[in-house]
């Protein structure tokens, strides 16, 4: 194998001549555009997901399943994990309401207090146009792996705090989003795999206005 190494290096050097930065960037953006195109015309989404949190501060990763409803038309979302739900986060209007069902407690939080981009990315919905995507992210690389394209992006602006990279995983055949990986600067990571995605799912108002009867307001 050792004697093949110089030959490989020469091939790589030749290949790099054809892959100019602009050509590479255009190719990357093409995949991003095709992924974003799959979102066009979608007014709402229901996503069943499995989330794995690998944190430096914990001995073992935490895995949980949950569902996310996104109502693009009214800028609302509901996120819940566990079955029955252990934690529900809804954003009916401007404020965020976090409900912990086992504790029978909830907290109302104004935007921008304590929420990190990791979840804010989901909560705010995914970018739907290239302009919106480029306003929020800078593509670092697009890597093909198995049957997917992994769009590795650095978040821009305030969303970048504490986050190293966002990786949007899209299927190679139809460019639909199948998962998100978030690498934090402290070495922790959050991997969210989409088990089922229902475009234009019904999103009744009651979904975003859960009953808080019997719950006590607190600060978590």
């Amino acid at each position: 194998m050792a004697h093949l190494l110089p030959l490989r290096l020469v091939s790589l050097a030749l290949l790099s001549l054809f892959l100019s930065p602009s050509a590479f960037a255009a190719d990357n953006l093409d995949i991003v555009k095709r992924w974003l195109a799959t979102n066009s015309g979608i007014k709402s989404l229901q996503i069943d997901f499995t989330q794995t949190r690998t944190m430096r501060s914990l001995k073992v990763p935490i895995r949980q399943t949950g569902t996310l409803w996104l109502d693009h038309a009214n800028s609302r979302f509901r996120w819940q994990v566990g079955d029955p739900p252990q934690t529900i986060v809804v954003k009916p209007h401007r404020d965020l309401i976090i409900i912990r069902t086992p504790m029978k407690k909830y907290e109302k939080r104004s935007p921008g207090t304590g929420d990190t981009p990791a979840m804010a990315a989901l909560a705010k919905g995914f970018p739907r146009t290239l302009e919106e995507f480029q306003r929020k992210y800078r593509v670092l690389q697009v890597e093909p792996r198995d049957n997917t394209h992994r769009i590795v992006a650095a978040p821009l602006g305030a969303d970048a705090r504490g986050v190293q990279t966002f990786t949007y995983v899209v299927e190679s055949r139809n460019f639909r989003l199948v998962g998100i990986e978030i690498d934090l600067k402290d070495g922790s990571s959050v991997e969210t795999v989409f088990n089922k995605v229902v475009p234009n799912a019904p999103v009744p108002l009651s979904l975003f206005q859960p009953s808080l009867e019997g719950y006590r307001e607190t600060t978590f």
Partner: protein
């Protein structure tokens, strides 16, 4: 005397002058030239004395995107960490993992130093069995909660040491962030090494080396990616300010001296067309400067930024005496003794009156201006003696066989005869009209005049204040006390006044560092409870581990317990425990200081209307002062207006009486005073209709202008009296001398126009323009008015 070639003499004196200029040391602290009884000036002084770190440079990075700013700041921090000879330490915003390792020291101290009731709330969570429950709750929350900042913090701090609750009070709302909200602006602090930073020259050398190293990095870094090209990097902080101010002052003095010397030489050449006497004259002027600088250094030590301009003013004035001697030597044809006898008294009296005018600046509230006045006054006395005893023999020698040239003619060409009367009415009326219809002359209400213009470090500092949350319009507030209990009592009193100022809507925000001030009584009260809980560390750590937290997850708890142990040990030998660890020391030292037997605390306030001094009067006392530049501008204007009334008006009255005694003629008195009024009108018109304006610095030039105006009119009126009202003869004689003196003084003042300090430059321009106006009025208009006033009357000289 002429056996030695004048060029050699000039070279020696030039070298001496250059050596003296190089030896002059300036004080780079602007507040030292301001009235020290103002709370704003005391604030700047105490901020500098107790909280400024001479060697701490701030590097600012502004990029289009946050990741670019972060890349730049990380790369810069790494670069300077590898320069141990230049940088002792680099401080940057800590990552979460660094906060975990470093933050424990600060958290443990804040709890240890806080009220016992607050500590008890924490300890109740650490005791069994509550600790197990709390850790379990933390794990449940990490597992099921929305993944946000709280989850990350909880995973490192399951027992909630960082949940300080009400312990932090106001301070919690105003974190000392090093990153802007959008992340595109970031800063790092560099602690300089290797030099004495209290010396601005050493600071400048250090900064130069650092900039060389920085530029090498910048070149490499910008080459590495096209994205890096638009990143803007600035340097600010004490060493940058000191180096900049010091270097600019040295430059100001050198440039103004050289410029004055060259322009005066040109003027001499135009009027006399001779180089050898010029060489001697320049040598005499430079010798005057050398002697004055030596005296000045001995008497005043470091000179302030205002004094940077004294050398040029002095040269412009001292050369006049040489010119008078030189012209008189043409007429008298006697020896030096005879020359001194004929011109000496006049020069001595002129020097004395000019020196008195400059000494009157001691009545000003600005110590910097007083210093400049004293230096010029000393210089004028030295200059008069140098010219009389060293230049007079030279002037005689050069004029032995010289036929007096007719030279430049100063004719009014009939214009002044026709217009002098009309102008005497039109100009005052036009001035009154302009004041009423356009604007009344007033002082600029800002601190601008006392600052260096186009200062890169000031621009970087202002950007920093603007970009970092909570810093804009925040005014540093320093509270002091001779003992810790006194400091705490003073903070409490200041807090009550600040609250009252809030109620009156004078302030919009304030932060007092209450929890960062050592509280020995709290520490003594917490001592026993902390001692009990540290014995339970092993149990608590095993509970954390059992719940599924890794070693990283337990690190903060371990640090807190280790610090508590250290605080307990400290109490065995000290009255209070100090925080330990880099972050803790950094945070506390920025807000609390113990120096020179004084305890000081640093807070901030945000006034609703910074320029309005009501808020300063409401919250300040002897122990609470604010470093507010906005209100300082207003304060200085108030003070200078007071000075004008207190100093200028009595001075005018005294000089008017003196004029009356000197002239013993009401017509001459009216002519002299009208001359001053007319010149004043012209200067006011210039400030109304041109960009020239008054500020708290250049308005102090008014007594100087008044003095020169008076001087010029006295000379002209006496000449007219001597020759029985012959205008042409008066212009040809004293007129020429006044033109030379006025122009040379204007050159001296005008050379300050390029000064780095706004105020000094504006003082130079106003004085140069004012002196020229005085000269033109005295030479071309005053003779006509005098003749008109004495029309149909026998002239005093002839009676």
């Amino acid at each position: 005397m002429t056996r030695i070639h004048p060029i050699i003499i000039m070279a020696i004196v030039c070298s001496l002058a250059a050596f003296s200029l190089m030896r002059v040391k300036f004080s780079a602290s602007l507040y030292e030239m301001l009235p020290e009884d103002l709370p704003e000036v005391q604030g700047m002084d105490r901020l500098n004395r107790y909280f400024s770190r001479d060697g701490q440079l701030i590097v600012t990075v502004k990029a289009e995107e946050s990741f670019l700013a972060e890349e730049a700041i990380e790369s810069l921090a790494d670069h300077f960490r590898n320069e141990p000879e230049l940088v002792a330490e680099v401080f940057q915003e800590l990552s979460i993992s660094e906060l975990v390792t470093e933050g424990g020291g600060l958290l443990s101290w804040l709890w240890f130093n806080g009220p016992p009731d607050d500590l008890e709330k924490l300890l109740s969570k650490l005791r069994a069995p509550q600790s197990g429950e709390k850790i379990g709750e933390a794990m449940a929350s990490i597992q099921s909660a929305f993944f946000d900042q709280d989850v990350i913090v909880t995973s490192y701090d399951p027992l909630g040491f960082s949940d300080l609750g009400t312990l932090l009070g106001d301070e919690a709302s105003n974190p000392d962030s090093m990153i802007s909200a959008d992340g595109t602006f970031q800063i790092i602090y560099l602690e300089g090494a290797g030099v004495d930073f209290s010396d601005y020259r050493e600071a400048a050398v250090w900064l130069k080396k650092l900039k060389t190293s920085f530029r090498a990095w910048e070149e490499e870094w910008k080459k590495s990616s096209s994205d890096h090209k638009n990143v803007i990097i600035g340097l600010t902080g004490t060493p940058a300010f000191m180096a900049e101010v010091g270097a600019e002052m040295e430059r100001d003095m050198t440039v103004s001296v050289i410029m004055t010397m060259v322009l005066i030489s040109l003027l001499f050449w135009v009027m006399h067309r001779r180089t050898r006497p010029l060489s001697w004259l320049i040598s005499a002027v430079l010798l005057t400067l050398v002697i004055t600088l030596t005296f000045g250094g001995f008497l005043f030590g470091d000179l302030s930024i205002m004094s940077a301009g004294f050398a040029a003013i002095l040269m412009g004035l001292a050369v006049d005496y040489g010119i008078v001697l030189y012209r008189e030597a043409m007429d008298t044809k006697g020896d030096a003794k005879a020359l001194r006898r004929s011109v000496g008294p006049g020069i001595i009296w002129a020097a004395a009156t000019t020196a008195v005018v400059f000494l009157s600046l001691n009545f000003s509230s600005l110590p910097g201006l007083s210093e400049m006045g004293n230096l010029v006054a000393i210089g004028i006395a030295v200059g008069a003696l140098v010219m009389l005893y060293l230049f007079a023999p030279v002037a005689v020698e050069f004029n032995k066989d010289v036929i007096k040239p007719r030279g430049l003619q100063l004719e009014g060409m009939g214009v002044t005869r026709r217009l002098a009367g009309a102008l005497a009415i039109i100009i005052p009326l036009f001035t009154i009209g302009s004041m009423l219809l356009k604007e009344m002359p007033g002082l600029e209400a800002n601190f601008h005049p006392f600052r260096i213009r186009e200062s890169p470090s000031m621009i970087a500092w202002q950007t920093l204040q603007h970009e970092l949350a909570g810093r804009e319009n925040s005014i540093p507030t320093v509270i002091t006390g001779k003992t810790l209990p006194e400091l705490n009592a003073n903070i409490e009193a200041a807090s009550a006044r600040i609250k009252a100022a809030y109620d009156e809507e004078l302030l919009t925000d304030s932060v007092l560092p209450t929890s960062f001030i050592p509280a020995p009584e709290n520490q003594a009260a917490n001592h026993i409870a902390i001692k009990a809980i540290v014995n339970e560390e092993a149990r608590i750590l095993s509970e954390i581990s059992a719940a599924g937290f890794s070693e990283d997850g337990a690190k903060l708890t371990e640090t807190v317990f280790a610090s508590w142990r250290h605080h307990l040990e400290q109490l065995n030998s000290n009255t209070f425990a100090k925080p330990e660890g880099k972050l803790a020391e950094w945070s506390v030292n920025r807000l609390f200081s113990e120096k020179e037997g004084v305890f000081a605390a640093l807070g901030t306030v945000k006034p609703a209307r910074p320029e309005d001094r009501t808020w300063v009067k409401a919250i300040c006392d002897d122990n609470t002062v604010v470093a507010s530049l906005s209100s300082l501008g207003t304060a200085l204007n108030e003070r200078i207006k007071g000075d004008l009334v207190r100093v200028f008006l009595p001075m005018m009255a005294m000089l008017s009486i003196m004029l009356a005694i000197v002239f013993r003629s009401w017509r001459d008195l009216v002519a002299g005073l009208f001359c001053l009024l007319f010149s004043g009108c012209l200067i006011v018109l210039l400030t109304i209709w041109t960009p020239m304006s008054w500020n708290s610095f250049n308005v102090c030039g008014l007594p100087l202008l008044f003095g020169t105006g008076l001087d010029f009119s006295i000379h002209m009126i006496f000449a007219l009296r001597r020759n029985g009202g012959n205008v042409t003869e008066a212009r040809h004689g004293i007129g020429k001398a006044l033109v030379f003196c006025g122009t040379s003084s204007a050159i001296g003042f005008g050379s300050l126009a390029t000064a780095s300090a706004h105020g000094l430059a504006s003082l130079g321009i106003v004085c140069a323009v004012g002196v020229l106006v005085n000269m033109i009025v005295a030479v071309w208009l005053l003779p006509r008015w005098w003749v008109w006033l004495h029309a149909g009357k026998a002239h005093p000289a002839t009676t």
